[in-house]
Symmetry: D2
Subunit: 97 residues, 4 copies
Amino acid sequence: MPELLTSTAKEFALAELPHWTLSENGNAIERTFTFRSFARAFGFMASAAILAEKMNHHPTWTNTYNKVDVLLTTHDAGGLTELDFKLARKLDRLCEA
Amino acid sequence: MPELLTSTAKEFALAELPHWTLSENGNAIERTFTFRSFARAFGFMASAAILAEKMNHHPTWTNTYNKVDVLLTTHDAGGLTELDFKLARKLDRLCEA
Amino acid sequence: MPELLTSTAKEFALAELPHWTLSENGNAIERTFTFRSFARAFGFMASAAILAEKMNHHPTWTNTYNKVDVLLTTHDAGGLTELDFKLARKLDRLCEA
Amino acid sequence: MPELLTSTAKEFALAELPHWTLSENGNAIERTFTFRSFARAFGFMASAAILAEKMNHHPTWTNTYNKVDVLLTTHDAGGLTELDFKLARKLDRLCEA
């Protein structure tokens, strides 16, 4: 099982992910992705779903029209691990050109 | 714009949708769909996304692994309209054999 | 039903779509989309599927890993109509930044 | 790399997959999946795409409206391996209730 990150490690990892914020309890990271249309939002989700399953690490995500709110945490570990930051970086990259 | 349904009309429509419940404020209906795997949950979402866009009526939905929580409301009308029940019936049908 | 386009109209429409070519028999247009990964190719397909169903005009498309070969024709009309070029433009736009 | 299957092994594996046929050159297996709608066909593809990427084994597949023609082969090995039959069984299972 992946190890829980220390507060310092979380801060360090978040510093490189300007679009993500720590949840109130410090156990998850969150980002809202906004797209030009529902079709584009769902295309992003389809790509992301494939990457998530491959990592065997799944988001909790909410979609309304052109917005996708993503929350990442490692349930088995009870908080944030390197897996969450790895998936966050992959999702960010999907939205770059 | 579709008309808001009366309380009686909502009750009548919900009686035919045993898996759905009225939200606390009465302005939305909700159902949790549970699947055997993340892959099946996302396949359902892909079919549902296509139907939703075709109706130009989109859910607010949250996915975590094999579960999909769907909330339907008609934002423009400020509550429940026939569109919500129409989409609910389409989503139910996707899960039948 | 949409009208078949004349040869002149096809040439005119294709001139604005540099990535698309006319099929040998002149009844379809074709483009291969290439992506950085399977996940991105499938994300494109998910967005495109939503747009296609909304137009009620569906591609014949083949995917292998990071490539998607799209063929557009209007079956009901027996050849190319404005619908094909409209969908082609929408698919092109999905791949822009 | 997975090993190429012998003719006997292929016949044995195909005997358990009544919906699949050997391609003419014996290097691939093929099945056409037919659905009630485009939305359902694409939902199947979304589930299948997730499973395929997880196996790191991808189909060559063609979709037209409610039909999906799937061809499976192991490119690296130059023919059929156990991976193809494993994915075929997974795809069949997606279509069961």
